[in-house]
Symmetry: C2
Subunit: 227 residues, 2 copies
Amino acid sequence: MTDKKAIILVSGGLDSATVLAMAQAEGFDCYTLAFDYGQRTRSELDAAAVVSATMRARAHKVVTLDLGTIGGSALTDDSIEVPDHQDGSEGIPITYVPARNTTFLSIALGWAEVLGAMDIFIGVNAVDYSGYPDCRPEYIAAFEAMANLATKAGVEGNKLCIQTPLMDLSKSQIVERGQALGLDYSVTVSCYQADADGRACGTCDSCVLRAQGFVAAGVADPTRYQE
Amino acid sequence: MTDKKAIILVSGGLDSATVLAMAQAEGFDCYTLAFDYGQRTRSELDAAAVVSATMRARAHKVVTLDLGTIGGSALTDDSIEVPDHQDGSEGIPITYVPARNTTFLSIALGWAEVLGAMDIFIGVNAVDYSGYPDCRPEYIAAFEAMANLATKAGVEGNKLCIQTPLMDLSKSQIVERGQALGLDYSVTVSCYQADADGRACGTCDSCVLRAQGFVAAGVADPTRYQE
């Protein structure tokens, strides 16, 4: 146990589980935060709780937040279908949830203030998700600057850091890091439309990128797929 | 009707109702957004809906968001008492909700993306609430910079603006502006602990500042108080 507290945003997926393992390896006392934001796949939330418990996070909280109210994404709006993965597609995908990372980081910032944590970890990645504006390093730097003006801690001269250890890693490098840290990927769920048992569709962007990552890393893929 | 859309954050209070009137006077097509965030006083939300309907906003949405989960404020945590107003008190008050404005603006940013709105109005004020770090102009500027990196609109070269027309106004100046725009302040509720009928306590910071504002503006105060 240390007194270096960190908030880790966890989705139940491979990336954020790896981030949690990395933060723990750096000696942080980890508090995990997940969001019930009207996402299509509920088994993500179950996976987030299992990941946090398995990895012995100090506390795990789920904040309910009805992003479906504002709509605009295939991940929260049932009237928009999740598309299959297409190689080399450009632009911002329909699975993008408007201002999601900004909203999640903002709530994490609130919990960080309450706990006195100075670090917030998020598993964003500029390599695989270049189509999402809120996954880029310049965005994260701007959020951090804003966070230090928004909070008591910042006003008092402390420095809040938004940590993005996956930013420049490929999916296979992420899998390799997790593997090296002893992470059990069988408890994670990455699929945008997993079923109630956490079995993946195998065809959405997230499934395809995950599967490619395991292959490239030469690591056995524990993902369970729908029939 | 114009094609200049704006999101207006409304709380049901005097300040945000005045902001809505000001945005409409500037010719914006106004979409109002309120939050059910576990606040102590539920009549705020009723007032926000009435204000929006009375002033004919194009749409009014309420996003549910359980900030009580992370705690840390007298406004969302029942175990912390709302203090009476004290003149000249310094520091950040216990009624400060950690990262609230950041969280509210983030969700507004998401809705702005969905609607194609380029303006978000928020009734922050540096004069009366200097104890809240997230009410200062430098904070708002940093949020705006971040917002323009976070979103499709920003990536495509459009400019999102966070509008804070009350920033440098005293409470009496705010009342005068609203009065000049024909705003009916009797439908607004400012109290941190109003009862179910929207009647104010008369002793919290928000009540005292509001009452002083009406007196200074020489405008009759329509606030209904608890017995």
